[in-house]
């Protein structure tokens, strides 16, 4: 193993340990070190800058994954409700969230919305706030509302932290998070351009580490990873394989278990963009560091958010952003991976699929739960999907083969050598993509 490859391994192992840290030991340690508070937040997006400016640690809460058994959490939810609220309550009731001094519930769906009220009742001694976001994107209407909501959050955190949060502190935090977003963009660019260098599971773990790490530390971690991974590739590790570049859509809230992410790439896909870690990458542009920082955060939300199912799509171009995303990152298909019973993702899907059909982009779809334990069906499905796209583009339409040759051109010369070297199972089904 090359030196750089071992460096990557060390970084990824650290991230994986954080991923498995359902007891928030990292947060406990941070609090012991700094003597400051920690504020948890559910997916998808919260303006972490305000928490950071309060001197507190923003902690991303992603449910219990496949790591905990749900007993108490199930007592509160019917069988037709998704998994993340159950595991979140389980974590809370078993004391694993004790390190958190408060929890923010962003507006994502009715279940998480109601969970905010349940939290108020179940943990009355802890701070809990539902964070409404505007579905009106006019600065003079939704913007005014949202800025005031952010003001309310700032006031709450001032009270909780016992110290004022001034504009300079907010601007400094914005600078830190802009840097973090830029580092993330570098990682995403690498995945887009050379996905074999930064595999989906590793990238995912590296981004997820930001759920528990202070922002600067996380930014450094991302850069270290990107640099080490690129060096490792240059040293001959991480060779390119003949896999199908795909985009994953629908996994923005409850997370697929890590083995599922691994399964997709092993089945013959390269995940070149996904919405699993959307919250960290929510804003597509830097937040302004000039003037009123709350206004800057509000404007960024209104005008530079990544479109997703939880936010209203005002134009009549539903699905266009996804098509654009697919083109931008050179993907050849979309895998809809949504949690079972996820209203936003599942209600959105038919509209997105329609847009993809119109654009001639193949897709396939399955559902999961965060504690899923079986991957065989998904492996077969993703493998068949990846194969069919290859087959289709090899025989196929001009447009697709053009795209593909363009992509091959980009990917450089190593394609031939990687043939037959792929890890994907020999799924030979001739079945086309689902939309056909």
């Amino acid at each position: 193993m090359s030196t750089s490859e071992s460096e990557v391994k060390v970084i990824v192992e650290r991230c994986e340990a954080l991923y498995h840290d359902v007891d928030l030991q990292a947060v406990v340690d941070w609090k012991a070190r700094t003597g400051r508070a920690a504020i948890g937040f559910l997916p998808i997006y919260v303006p972490r800058e305000i928490i950071d400016a309060a001197g507190m640690l923003p902690v991303g809460m992603r449910g219990g994954g496949d790591q905990i058994e749900i007993i108490r959490g199930d007592a509160y939810f019917q069988s037709y409700i998704c998994q993340i609220p159950r595991s979140t309550i389980e974590l809370g009731l078993t004391g694993r969230l004790d390190a958190l001094d408060g929890v923010l519930f962003p507006s994502i769906c009715d279940v998480i919305r109601n969970l905010s009220g349940m939290w108020q009742l179940l943990f009355p001694e802890k701070y809990a706030r539902y964070l409404d976001v505007p579905q009106n994107f006019d600065s003079a209407v939704g913007g005014v509302f949202y800025r005031r909501e952010l003001e309310g959050l700032r006031d709450d955190l001032e009270k909780l932290g016992g110290r004022p949060i001034d504009a300079d502190a907010l601007r400094a935090s914005i600078v830190r998070y802009n840097a973090n977003r830029q580092a993330l963009e570098r990682l995403m660019t690498l995945r887009r351009e050379a996905p074999w260098t930064a595999p989906a599971d590793e990238s995912y773990l590296v981004i997820r580490a930001g759920d528990l790490l202070p922002v600067d530390e996380h930014t450094q971690l991302i850069d270290d990873y990107v640099a080490a991974a690129q060096r490792a590739h240059a040293e001959g590790a991480r060779p390119m394989r003949d896999r199908t570049p795909v985009v994953i859509s629908g996994a923005f809230c409850e997370q697929p278990p890590l083995p599922l992410i691994r399964t997709l790439e092993r089945a013959g896909c390269y995940v070149v963009w996904d919405d699993m870690t959307l919250g960290a990458r929510w804003l597509t542009a830097d937040v302004s560091t000039e003037g009123d920082p709350l206004l800057a955060l509000s404007e960024a939300f209104l005008h530079h958010s990544t479109p997703t199912a939880s936010v209203y799509e005002p134009g009549a171009h539903k699905g266009q952003p996804l098509c654009d995303q697919v083109r931008r990152c050179g993907a050849e298909g979309v895998i809809f991976a949504a949690p079972s019973f996820c209203d936003p993702a599942l209600l959105d899907q038919p509209m997105l699929q329609r847009a993809l059909d119109r654009a001639g982009i193949p897709w396939t779809a399955f559902k999961y739960a965060e504690n899923l334990g079986q991957f065989q069906v998904i492996r077969e499905q993703a493998g068949t999907f990846a194969d069919s796209i290859r087959l289709w583009s090899e025989q196929g339409t001009e447009q697709a083969s053009e795209q593909r040759s363009e992509r091959r051109h980009e990917q450089g010369k190593a394609l031939e050598s990687s043939r037959g070297n792929g890890e994907r199972p020999g799924a030979t089904s001739e079945q086309g993509s689902d939309h056909a």
Binding site: Y76, Q78, G373, Q374, Q376
Partner: protein, 468 residues
């Protein structure tokens, strides 16, 4: 020992079995009966009650024998032998009916082309069955010891199919359906024979047959006392006669269970199975505060107070995940009998985590796990835990697990399920006393009988007087 014996009866019409319990006035369980529920609920209920009456009569016989100094000395052995012979009489009676109906079925137009062959084969099979029933060989006796079911349908069915298979193999050479045209075929296949059986058994099960104590005991007694001195035989006869002569008055019968709506009872005599399970469990274990019942179709978590009154309950939704039925699917998937699952799972050394208790996905997950190289017993241990996890959620919903906790229903007989339950209760609630009654299948019927006994007291149900 004379006069009328007043009893109260509870009937629990479940989705797979129907149970009846007879209580005497002091509240002691006098008799219990069970039969498979069938399309004819009223009849299933009647058969279970008759079974309970029979067992009540045998309980009376025990009392009569115990009261006789001479007969008391060897009462147990006599009684057990008499019971075996009585069961045999019942079995023979039913077999006779099955033969009649089967032969009639063989005259149907549908099987005209093979009628003669069919009739011959059926006669052979029934001759053999009756021979075995009347003079059981060692093998059949042993088989009946180990048999997994007491129901005539199951016992006759397995014996019939064994004989049909044995003779069928030599004849058609293939157990399956014939490939040649129906019209041309003249030989009788295994499927033909089983087709007749399936049609006949439904008719036999759905027409009343005399299986009463009074109707069958004398023949059984004759056989049982055969060879004894006449004076002693007479003494036994008198003991049995007093029992036969005793009139039993069923003061009130209360029905419960899945099919209670269809029971031929007055609305006032019907109680929810949840209430009955609560009260029944309280009777079995008076300190019980939490009851878990996992039956074929549903799972119930029940909290009761110090008098067995239900204070809250939760049950599964329309999805049968985590119920007994789920184990049935798993067993089918693994080509095992349901009763084999628990013992196999107990052999596990390393439990595999199973996330889905969805019956629809169970098969897929199972195959996935097997293909990954996990051992069957470890997967099964994981499955049992998954089922109990579902139950734990219902228990938590209903208010948790209090000290003294009772587990009832068919799944309570599954050692692996009980093990998983003990473990999860310990992990989540700490030390709790877990009770499982050997008669746990009768818990609901017992509760219903207790409600019957409460009788007039129970009439205080508001508005009842007007409803009548």
């Amino acid at each position: 020992m004379s006069g009328t014996l007043k009893v109260h009866v509870g009937v629990d019409l479940g989705s797979t079995t129907t149970k009846a319990v007879v209580l005497d006035t002091s509240g002691e369980i006098l008799g219990r009966g069970i039969t498979n529920s069938r399309s004819n609920y009223a009849l299933a209920s009647e058969i279970a009650r008759e079974e309970a009456r029979v067992s009540a009569r045998f309980a009376l016989l025990d009392r009569a024998l115990a009261a006789d100094d001479l007969l008391a000395t060897d009462a147990d052995r006599f009684r057990n032998r008499l019971l075996t012979l009585f069961r045999q009489r019942q079995h023979v009676t039913q077999l006779g009916r099955l033969r009649e109906v089967s032969l009639a079925e063989a005259h149907a137009d549908r099987v005209k082309h093979i009628r003669d062959g069919l009739l011959g084969r059926l006669r052979d099979i029934f001759d053999a069955l009756e021979r075995d029933a009347n003079a059981p060989s060692i093998e059949t006796m042993l088989a009946s010891e180990k048999r997994s079911s007491d129901f005539f349908r199951d016992r006759a069915g397995s014996a019939f199919s064994r004989l049909a298979e044995a003779s069928g193999a030599s004849c058609s050479g293939a157990g399956g359906s014939s490939v040649c045209g129906e019209g041309k075929r003249t030989h009788v296949t295994f499927d033909d024979l089983m087709g007749i059986f399936d049609k006949a058994i439904i008719q036999v099960e759905n027409t009343p047959i005399d299986l009463t104590f009074e109707g069958n005991i004398r023949d059984a007694l004759d056989a049982c006392t055969h060879g004894l001195p006449e004076a002693l035989r007479e003494r036994f006869r008198r003991a049995v006669d007093t029992v036969v002569g005793r009139s039993i008055e069923e003061v009130r019968t209360v029905g419960t269970g899945y099919g209670r709506q269809t029971l031929p009872f007055d609305r006032r005599d019907v109680r929810s199975e949840i209430l009955c399970h609560g009260l029944g469990a309280h009777r079995q274990f008076p300190t019980t505060r939490t009851v878990l019942d996992i039956g074929g179709q549903d799972t119930k978590a029940i909290q009761v107070d110090g008098s067995g009154i239900v204070t809250s309950f939760q049950m599964n939704d329309r999805c049968a995940a985590g119920c007994g039925r789920y184990l049935g699917y798993i067993a089918d998937e693994m080509s095992l009998g349901v009763h084999e699952l628990g013992p196999l799972a107990m052999k596990s050394t390393r439990r595999v985590k199973i996330s889905s208790t969805c019956t629809v996905f169970a098969g897929a997950e199972l195959r996935d796990r097997l293909s990954l190289g996990d051992r069957r017993e470890d997967i099964l241990a994981g499955l049992h835990r998954a089922i109990i996890l579902r139950a734990m959620a219902l228990l938590a919903r209903s208010g948790g697990i209090e000290e003294t906790f009772t587990f009832t229903g068919g799944v309570a007989n599954n050692a692996a399920a009980v093990k998983a339950l003990r473990q999860l209760v310990q992990e989540n609630y700490g030390e709790r006393t877990l009770n499982i009654s050997p008669g746990s299948i009768y818990t609901g019927a017992l509760g219903a009988a207790l409600f019957a006994q409460r009788g007039e007291d129970d009439e205080a149900r508001p508005g009842q007087e007007v409803a009548a």
